[in-house]
Symmetry: C3
Subunit: 315 residues, 3 copies
Amino acid sequence: MNYISIQNIDSLDKWVKSALKIKKNPLKNKKLGKDKTLGMLFFNPSLRTRLSTQKAALNLGMNVMVMNFTNEGWTLEFEDGTIMNQGASEHIREAAEVVSQYCDIIAIRSFAGLIDKEKDNAEMVLSGFLKFATVPIVNMESAVGHPLQSLADAITMEEFKTPHRPKVVLSWAPHPRALPQAVANSFVEMMQKQENMDFVITHPEGYELNPEITKNSKIEYDQNKAFENADFVYVKNWSNYNEYGAVTNMDPNWTVTAEKMALTNNGKFMHCLPVRRNVIVADEVIDSENSIVIQQAHNRTYSAQLVLQKILKKI
Amino acid sequence: MNYISIQNIDSLDKWVKSALKIKKNPLKNKKLGKDKTLGMLFFNPSLRTRLSTQKAALNLGMNVMVMNFTNEGWTLEFEDGTIMNQGASEHIREAAEVVSQYCDIIAIRSFAGLIDKEKDNAEMVLSGFLKFATVPIVNMESAVGHPLQSLADAITMEEFKTPHRPKVVLSWAPHPRALPQAVANSFVEMMQKQENMDFVITHPEGYELNPEITKNSKIEYDQNKAFENADFVYVKNWSNYNEYGAVTNMDPNWTVTAEKMALTNNGKFMHCLPVRRNVIVADEVIDSENSIVIQQAHNRTYSAQLVLQKILKKI
Amino acid sequence: MNYISIQNIDSLDKWVKSALKIKKNPLKNKKLGKDKTLGMLFFNPSLRTRLSTQKAALNLGMNVMVMNFTNEGWTLEFEDGTIMNQGASEHIREAAEVVSQYCDIIAIRSFAGLIDKEKDNAEMVLSGFLKFATVPIVNMESAVGHPLQSLADAITMEEFKTPHRPKVVLSWAPHPRALPQAVANSFVEMMQKQENMDFVITHPEGYELNPEITKNSKIEYDQNKAFENADFVYVKNWSNYNEYGAVTNMDPNWTVTAEKMALTNNGKFMHCLPVRRNVIVADEVIDSENSIVIQQAHNRTYSAQLVLQKILKKI
C-alpha cells in the first residue's frame, strides 16, 4: 500500500473517523511500529510536514531517519538511458532501491519545478521512487499533490462541521512568487469525495487548475459571490497552470479580508501554512476566532499517523 | 516554566547540587520523558549545544526532533502588521504555535545579529517563540544570553571549588571577528548569584558590556591586576557593545598566556568553546592541567538535563 | 577498539561469518546498545553510509545523533600551533574531545581533498579524531579508505561464492570528475586478506594506486585480458594517484559493457554506488541478473552492525 494521492483513500468518511479516533488516543498503537523504520527524504524545505510526520511515526513507536537530499546526499538522475557525465551522480533506480534496503516505509517531499509542466505532471521524483523502491511510499507533497495536507483538512472540517450541509470555498489569493498547485489539487480531489458538502472554486479568470483534476467542480470567477454564505473558506495561492508557473496576477483585491469574510455564514478560515500575512490574508482574519489554521496543522499528525498505521498493518 | 535566562534560576546553589546528583546517575529519570518530544530549532551553527542537549533529552527518555531553520524550513517574519511580500514566507505567530502542536518542549538557538542593538536586546526570535508558542521554551543561546552554558559553568566551578572564598575573573580576549555578548552576559548574571565568590570583569576600556546586566559588578581595566590571585579565569571575546557589534580592539596583549596565568593563584582556565587557539588563549594554557574547558563542555549535558527535568516535572 | 581500516580486521573469514549471522537475526542484540549513543559526523555527502550505519545502530538499540559539519557546526582547524585568526573557529583537539563527552562511539566521514597528497595520506580529519577523541572511532570513508564498504563487499562475495576458487577483478572505469581512491584502496586491502581467491587489478597505465597499498597485488593493463574468466568484477573510478587528483583519462573503452562481461565466467558485477550509468557501466550490465550492487548496499547494514557490535562488547 502506498499513499500517493487522495485517490488512494477508499472511504474518506471512514478515514476521517479513524483519524479522529487516533487523535483521542495517539499512543494506543505504539507497538505497531516497533523495529520499523520510516525514511523521510526531503528535496525541499518543510516545517509542518517534517515535524508532524516524525511525530506520527514516534507515536507509533517507529524509528525515523531524516535525510535532506538538497545538501546531505547526491544529485539524482531520473531519465532512463542517459549518459551520466553531467551533474547527477546517482540514478533514481539505485537510490530508490538502496533506500528500500534500510527503511520499511519511505516518505518523500519533492515540489513542482514549475518550469516543465509535462515533467511536473509526470511526478518525476515521486514516480521514480514509486517505480524502483521495494517498500511502501508516502507522498509528503509532490509536484501535483499534497494528500497528507488534504486529509488533515478533511479531519479539521469534520471537527468544525455545521448542522446543515456546508458550503466550502477554495479561493485563490495573490502571492509575490510562483507557488505549486499541489495543495489546491489535493483539496479539490478531497472535496470531490465529500458527499455532503457543496463546493465552489474561485480564482481570477486564467488561473484555472488542471481540468483533469477539477473535472466538473463548480468555478465562480467572482470571489465575493463565491464567499456568500460559505461555511469554510480555504485560501491558497497557486501559480498559473495554463501559462505554466507564471505569476500573471497579483491583484490585492483577492486578499482575504474581514470585509470578505463578512459575506460568509460566519465561515471558518483555512490555510495549509506557511502563509504570507496581509498578502494572502489580512491579520484581522487569520487572528480571528474563525481561523482554524492551527487546528489544521495539529491534525497533520493524525493524518500522517493514520496513513502510517494503515501501511504498517499491511507489512 | 521556561528557561530563558539565568534569572529563571531561583536558587543557583540548589540547581548546581541537583545537576551534580544527575551527573552521578544520569539515567535515573529515564521514564520522566517517555513519550515526550523535544523540538530543537537552530537558526545558527552548534556543536556542544546540539549534542549535549540531545544527549540530556535521551538520558530522560525523550524523543528529539532537530530542525535547522537555516536550510530546512521557511524564512520567518517577526514584525507585526507587515505586508509579507518580501523574503519571509512564514510569520513567527504561526511557526511558534505550529511547532507547539508537535513538541512538548521547544529549544531555540538564535544568535545576535550584531547590527541592530535594539532588535538584539529585544530578543526578536526567542521572544517571538516565547510569546506565541504554547509549550515551554528553552534558550540554547539567544541574542543576549546563553544560560545553559553559564549553568554548566557554575556546575564546573562547584566541582573545582577551592577551600577558600575564590576569586573569579571574566576576561575579554581578542578575536578577529565580531562575536555576541551572550556568553559573557549570562556568566555575569550567574556570578551575581554566587554569594561566596569574589568577581571581577576585565576588558579594554570601551568594551563595557550592557550596564543593565553588569550592574555593580567590579570592572578592572588592567588585565594583569585582575588576574592577580584569581582562582578561576573565564575567558571570552565579545564585540563592542557601545559601538555595537564593532571589533575596535584586537590587541594581542590580551591573549591569555602562561605568563598571565602565573599571576593567578594556580587558577583554572575556563572557556565555553569553540575557542581560537593562540588568539584567545595560548596553547600552553589550554593544554595545561589547569584548563577545565572539557569539563565545562561535559557539564553541558547535566545543565540541559536539569532544565529539561524541571520542565518535564511541571508538564 | 577502533575501526579505521581493513587492517583492523583480525580474521576476515570470521568477521564475514559473524556478519552473515547478524543478517539472519538483526535484532538479536538489541539490548547491547541500550543507553549507548552513536555520534555520526559528516564532512561530506552520504546516502548509503548515512542510512545503513544509522539502521545498524538502531538494530542494536543505540541512540543516534547525526551532525553535518558542513553546515551545522564550526569550521575546524587541524594544524598544531596555528594562530587561529583565519576561517577556522575550533580546533580538532577540542572538537574531538568534546564530542567524546556526549557519544560512546564516534563515526566520521571525511573524503580526500585530492589536492595535497601528503595531507590526504595523513588522514588529517580521521587521525585528528583518533588522536584526540576519548571514545572508539569508526571510519565511514576517509581520505584513504572505506573499510565499512569493503567489509560489506566481502560479505556479498561470500553470499555469491563459487564452488571453485574465484577470480576477482578490480577494474578502473572512466568518470568526468576527480574521485578519491578510498574505495579501491580498501577493496585491495580486503582482497589481500582473501586466502582463497585470485585477484587482479586493471586500469590504464599511469593510474596505479598507492604502491604501499597494492604491494604485490597483480596489475594487468589490458582490461579485456583481466576480465577473462572473472567471477567477480568490481568496478570503480579513481583519480590519478601519481598526478595526484588529476583526471588524465576518460577513455570510454574502459566503460563496462555487456560485451566485456561476456569475457567473464558469468561474472557478477559489483560497484559501491553511487554510479554514473553509461559512463562507468552500461545500463545492460547494471540492470542484468548478474549485477549485485543492491545486495552490496544491503550488506552495508550488517557490515556496520558487526563493527558497532564488536565495539559495544568492549566498552
